[in-house]
Every structure is written in C-alpha cells, then in structure tokens.
Homo-oligomer: 359 residues x 3
Amino acid sequence: MRKSTMHIPGVSDTTDETRTPFPLDQWYVAALSKELTDKPLGRTLLCNKVVMFRDGQGDACALEDRCCHRALPLSSGTVEACGIRCGYHGMLYNGQGQCLEIPGQDIVPPRAKVKKYYVQEKDSIIWIWFGSDEAAEPSHSAPDYAIHSSGDYIWDGAAYYYEAPYQLIHDNLLDLSHLGYVHLQTIGGDAKTHMNAEMNVTAEADSVRVVRHMPNSTPPPTYTAAYPFSGLIDRWQEIEFHPNHLRIWTGAVDAGSEEVNDPARGGFHMRGFHGVTPETESTAHYIWTIATNPESNHEEVLKKVVAQTALTFDEDKVVIESQYANMLSFGETPFISIHVDAAPNRARRIIDRLRTTAE
Amino acid sequence: MRKSTMHIPGVSDTTDETRTPFPLDQWYVAALSKELTDKPLGRTLLCNKVVMFRDGQGDACALEDRCCHRALPLSSGTVEACGIRCGYHGMLYNGQGQCLEIPGQDIVPPRAKVKKYYVQEKDSIIWIWFGSDEAAEPSHSAPDYAIHSSGDYIWDGAAYYYEAPYQLIHDNLLDLSHLGYVHLQTIGGDAKTHMNAEMNVTAEADSVRVVRHMPNSTPPPTYTAAYPFSGLIDRWQEIEFHPNHLRIWTGAVDAGSEEVNDPARGGFHMRGFHGVTPETESTAHYIWTIATNPESNHEEVLKKVVAQTALTFDEDKVVIESQYANMLSFGETPFISIHVDAAPNRARRIIDRLRTTAE
Amino acid sequence: MRKSTMHIPGVSDTTDETRTPFPLDQWYVAALSKELTDKPLGRTLLCNKVVMFRDGQGDACALEDRCCHRALPLSSGTVEACGIRCGYHGMLYNGQGQCLEIPGQDIVPPRAKVKKYYVQEKDSIIWIWFGSDEAAEPSHSAPDYAIHSSGDYIWDGAAYYYEAPYQLIHDNLLDLSHLGYVHLQTIGGDAKTHMNAEMNVTAEADSVRVVRHMPNSTPPPTYTAAYPFSGLIDRWQEIEFHPNHLRIWTGAVDAGSEEVNDPARGGFHMRGFHGVTPETESTAHYIWTIATNPESNHEEVLKKVVAQTALTFDEDKVVIESQYANMLSFGETPFISIHVDAAPNRARRIIDRLRTTAE
C-alpha cells in the first residue's frame, strides 16, 4: 500500500514513513450484504479504489476498480453471469480479476487482469482484507456477528460517510458521555446523568471494553418512543472496541426491577454494530446496523429505532466533521485529556501498536 | 502569529519571511455590535479563528475558537451566564478563556484554558487586537466613531465577505472613479464626470485623505431616490483611509447653492464606515455601515439607502473577486498605474511600512 | 508559454521540462463564429486566458484577458465600435491590444497595452494561433472546412467542456468501437457489430485515417429517426485525425444498394467537425458541429440529429471524465493496449512528436 506523508494532527503520526497509516492485517467492513445488488458498488477503502459485485453464484467479489485497458472504473460497468464488464470497450473480468473476453479480439493476453481482494461475507456483512503482505492470504477468518443471524432481533442499517479520520469516530463511540450535549433529541437526556455515569474501562489484547451504568435515570426520547417503561429506568451501555469495528449494547429496564449486569436481562435493548473503515487518512466510512427487541409492533418500532439512530449519527457527523476541520485549522496544538478519554486513549494506543511496520 | 509564505501577486510581498502579512499593532473591526446576540459568533480574523460572545454582564468577549479538550469549535457551543460551553462534552469557559467546569470531573486543571483576545466595543462596533507581541496589552485605545452614537444620523450596516485580499478593497474605496463604470444603477452616473472629478490627495502619518468634487453634475439614482434635489448638484466625496478602516463622507447640495467644502454644509449626506479586516491573506471581511440624514420618511429613506449601498457593494464584490481570480491566473505580471491610483498607492505604502518586522 | 511540471498519467510526459505540453505551431479552434456576438467571450485556451470580440468591422479579435491597469478580466467589460472597454476604470483597447483611451487622463503611455493573438475566421470557425515563438506570425493558414459553407448540408454545433485532458477525447473519437457500450440510446447498437467492424488504419505526416465498415447491420436509433431506411444498412465510419481537430464522416445506405467506399454515395450522412482544444493540461474544450443531408423536413431532422449528437457527447463526457478521475487516483499504472487502440496510439505519437522543444 502506498504510504502517505499526510499528517492528521492529533490523530496519528503518519509522518513516520516506516509505518502504515492504518493497521493492515485486519478484516474491514466493506459493505452491508444488502448493498450488493445487481449493480456494481464502487467504494474506496483504506485508500484502495475497490469495485464489489456478486458473481453468478451470488458470491461477493472485490476487484481493483480500474479496467486494465484504459483505466475506466469498473464500477461504471455492468454485472453479468460470469463477472463484470467494463462500460467503455466491454472487457469482461471474473471475480478473480482475470479478463475473460476482449470483444473483437481473439486472444486475451495473460497480463490483462486486475487485482483482486480477499472478501468474506458473514452474518450479512461483507468484510475485506488488504494485508501488509499483498501476496499473502488472510491470516484468520472475518469476525462473526451472530446478532444479525440469530432471529432474536430485528435490525437494519446504512453506510454513512464522514469527512473526518476514522479514529475520531472511535473516540466518539467509546465516549458516550457526549450524549447529554449532542443527542438531546434522541438518546441523550440530562447532561449530568451522562457525564457522571458509573464507568468501568478494561482492555485486553486488541480490544477495549467500557461498561457504564445510569441507575434511576429518566428515559430519553428514543426509549420512551419504543418501549413502555413505567417510570425511571436503570440504563446500561456496554461498548466493545475492536480495531476494525465496535459493538455497543445499550438498553434499560424499569428502575430497580432487574440486575442490569446480567446478560440475560430483559427490558429494551439496542445493539449497535459499527464498522468504522478508513476511506483515506482523512475520511471514513461508517457502516452501521442497529438491532432491537420490541415486544410488539415490530416493523413500526424498528422503523422508529432506525430513524432515531440515523438522526443520532447525523448529529455525530456534524460534530466530528467540524472537530476535524478545526483540527486542520489549528495544526499541532495538543489535546488536554479529561476523565471521559480513558477508553478512547486506550483504543488509540492499540491502533498505533497495530500500524504495520512497512518494509 | 504564524507567518505565511503565500504570495499575493500585485498586493504584498509576503515571501519576505521576516515580515508579517498584515500590520499587527492595530485594532481591527471584528463585528458590528448588533451581530453579537445570545448565540456565539465564529469568525476568522487575521488568520485567527475567533469565537465572540457576550458574558453575563453583556460585555463582548473573544476567545480562540477551539475547545482545549478535543478541538471542537466553541462557536458551535452555547452561551451561558458565566461564559461559553462546548457542545461536545460540556466544558465551560469564562470570557478570559479559563475553564470553569469539566462536567463529571471534580478538578479543573489550570492548563484547561483557551487563548483570549483583547476586545473593545465602542460606538456599536466591536474591535479586536492581535498585536505583534502576543503577551502585551494594546498600546492604544480603539477608534471612536461618533456618527453611530451622535443621533444626527440614522444608520445600518452588514458584514460582507470577499474572496479577495483586503488591500484590493482599499484600492476600490480609495479610488471612486470606478463609480461611472461599476455602479451605473446606484451611485454612478456619467463615467466622464467621475473620471474627470477634481481630486486632491494628501497623506499624514498613517492616513490618506482624498477629496473629490463633481460640480454641476447629474444626481445618480440613489441620490434622487433619497432627496428632493431641484436639478443639477454639487457633489463631494471625502475619503479617509486608516490601516484598519476607512470613512467616506459623500453627499451633494443643489448646484451653486452652498460651499461644498464647508463641513457644516446641508443637502443630502451619506457617511460610510468601512471596516476592512483580513480573514486570511487571500480573503477579507468587509464590515460596513451607512449613515444618512433624510428630512422626512426616515425609516423609508434609510431602507432605500442601505439597500442601494448593499447593491453597490455587491457590484464591487463581483469586480474585486474576479480581479483577484485573474491576478492569481496571471501571476507576477506587473500593474500599470494611472491617475486614479495616487491614493491607493499611498495606502499600499503605509500598509507595507506597518507590517511588523517579525522577530 | 509557461511550462508545466504537472504530469498527466497515461497521457503525456510533461515532466520533461524541455518540452511544451501541447504542440504549439498549430491553429486551434477557439470558438464557433456564432458564439461571438456583441458581448466579449472569455475562454482559456492552451493555458492562456483569452478574450475574444468583434471589432467595428465585425472582424474577430483575441487579446489577453487582463487589463494592464489592475488585472481585471476584459471579458467582463463591454464591446464598443473601436474595441473593448474595461469594466472597472474604462480603459479602451483596440483589436491589436493597444490602449486607445484612459478616461480622465490625457496621455496614454505606450506600454499601456495587452498581448494580442493571431486569429482567423474561416467557414464559421474561429481559429487561434499561439506559436512556439511568441513574436512570429503563423507559419501557415488555418484549415478550411468547406462543409460549413458549401450549402450541401445543414448543420449546427456547440462548445462543450471536459474535465479531462484533450488527448482522452482524441482516443474516444479515433476508436468508435465504444459505440456499442456507451451510446446504446443514440448511434450505438449491437456491441459485437461495433467491436468486429472491418477497420483500416493509415497514417500520413501529421494525420491518421480510420475507415470502418459495418455491412448488413441494424440501423441505430439516431439513423432510423432521421432517414427512411428500408431494412438493414451498410454503415461506414471515416475518421480523419489532425493534431488540432478531427473530421468524422459517418453514414449508411440500404444494405447492398451502393458502393460504400464511393465518396459520391447516397443515403444518410452525418459529418462531424470536432475541434479539440486544450484548456489546460487537465481540461479541454470540445467544440463540435454536426452536418447532415435530409431529404425532407430539414429543420426537424437537423434538430433531431443535433439533439442526438449532443446526447452522445454527454455520454462520452461522463465516461471520459470518470476515466480521467480514475487515472489521477491510480497514478502511474500503465495501460494495456488492445486492437481498438491502433489509431489512438498513432495519434499519441504524432502529438508527442509535435510538442515543441522549448528553448
């Protein structure tokens, strides 16, 4: 992968040219399964322009988004039974990137091919592998996400795009104290409740876990819209950070009614999957789903929960993009950390450690 | 202040790295008083991103527009009785830039603060001081502008924004000969009258004064719309340039009726205040007011005069921005000066002399 | 002319600073005659900002688009009987670029002038000459294009603009095999017919000629809309490349009815003139006309043919601009040539040979 000399102030030191800007030996979220229809999907991931499509068997494939003839994006082409056809002169490629046909020409030279990327589709998520060693196969399998497949939840999601480096999205998701200031209309509520939540941060290998409790608190708008709480609630937020995605399990039971630490707890649940994938060093894809467990009116509650979650992320996008624009304006000015930064700062150190040393 | 290596062709030699791009030991116009309401106002001034707001006493304050925690613009936050609160995690700053509260944390470390700027509010104008020595207090008081406070005039104004260096606005205001070509619909009129006006240019210390007379001339549309002239007019234009603003006193009496050089002359008056404040080396704020003295229908005439003035500056904006875009295209090609450039060229030399020598 | 250090990947090696980015000793298409009305026309051609206008005799003139006083674009000024007047302070220039008048000033200094360019207007096309030696007159006359003046055809055209280097437009026009993939709605049709057309490529001096035949083929939508073919058609495409423009003569007769190689053949004709003029190294003007020979309903058929041609070029614009954006993303990755590239590659070599060696 090309190394960049761009430096994101306050995010990662990419001026060190012996390091790559992102951890490479990871599966990253490339798309939700539902995004791959009968049209090709072009998306830049970790600075690689990629075209994704389904082959004749319905398997997800990913190639470099550039016809080897005259550099047209293959994502402007058409998907056929045997692969993808360029929209300029009709060269046809299979899912391995090998050219199968050059219309009007008998011989297809072996060098007529494009790079292919390793892809795994699991639990309605399409993962992609870039890897520090371009020739090597992935060293492990893509993550499972059973929530999508278990049948215990109904869920939906979308692919969002941020004009900001992906680590600022990590910060935002690992530090839910901002809910009281940013998300007043949806999942927020009294700011002091959020800023003073009981919080426990632990780290293990490449992951960080944050557990926050807000006992006896007022249910926020999204919660009351989706679940018949009788009054105050005991609310939990469990955040699990991995270098390529986060899982956030939030919810609440009627205050005092159940043990909120018990994973078998009842009440209202929202389980978020957050695929945070760099587009470039300064832009990111945020591919999310939200799963919930209503007692009735399933479709209606799901619509509400998805709409409220989308609204929440719209609010985050405004904050994070204006934060990043300001960081660019102010350059190297250092940050001052406060109590809420414990988990984000640990995640930073993990990402930093995993940034592959370039050869 | 950061020094720039950007070079504005035909404007100022900023390739000389021992000089700052603007005179620093000056008060600059930051805003009109009416712009500071109960919301914070973010504005970049002389390359500094600034947030302005009123404290609990109603006093105008100006801070660096960057929360010291995670760099969010404070201008996206909220104004409270004690200061301004960041919209991400709720850190609260007073008008001196000191952090008063970090929600959820007992101790506020002393280094939790942002830079404050010196501000003076006088005669409905908010002035700001950057200074060549960042630690030093302003060496003198901000200018008075009695017109706004005297009660002899009614006035209004607005903050305009130009995609052009501020010295091109100086040129435009110091050389009113362009009225006959650019402002045909408002304050212009016969081009030859404007190009052949009697003109007297004098300079003293850091200011330039231009007096122009157009005796026996036809009143332009704005004048006839606002005042009952009986026929031809004796028209004057008195321009006073200062490095941080200009004052332009124009008007007319019925031809032959009064001594136009007498400051106590009657007739129709338009007194312009022109705060020309660099945003960056290549962009500028143009914060203006226009005051007038109608005999009757005050509100109606004021509306007309303000609307016509705004239209005039809209016309100037088009000209100046296209001039600057062309200067960028053509690079170093020198200018050829003509008779109208006497005053603009003097102003250029004053600005050049005042550009503080950096240490 | 300024030399650029910009490098267009896959197009031309402009990193060689001893070469100019374009052949200079050529007439280039600056505009269609109909574009020069009573207003000035500003257009950047080969990196030169040019203003064009008609003088009092109706002759087309071209000057540098910059007033020598304060760099305003003259294209924002007004056309008068003696020349063009700047819209800021009224300086008046004749078609030779000499300043004739400085309003309010008696003397016009001899250095008050702007550069003029050689222009020839022939057959409703305005050609311009830049030349490797700025002082020298053009070494030959601008091309004729009798089709516009003969009366045998009716025609119309337009000036298009591409965010792509001009040589990508050459490629597109010299390789009509793409019709079956890009232009399905207009002049395309079965892809295999186009990719397998009989093709003959010859080159001579600075031109390339391509002749393609598609006997017994199905008439495409534009053809059936404009001409009463009885069934299958014998279709021809004759393309003539010159470094500054292309001529494309396409058409068809009823299958088996006439000798398609005979220039006196009947049937339906579309004769395209394609002025491909670099704006910069990465952008281009595409100034085209289309002439045709309907048997009846002249105005109606012409409208149809022009509309369909415009639609075809709209489709090409999307393809070429996305191709170029992708080339910029992927950098130096080499192209793989196929059978359709024979003519485009010859044209590339001609352009490359003609790029004047800078002194």
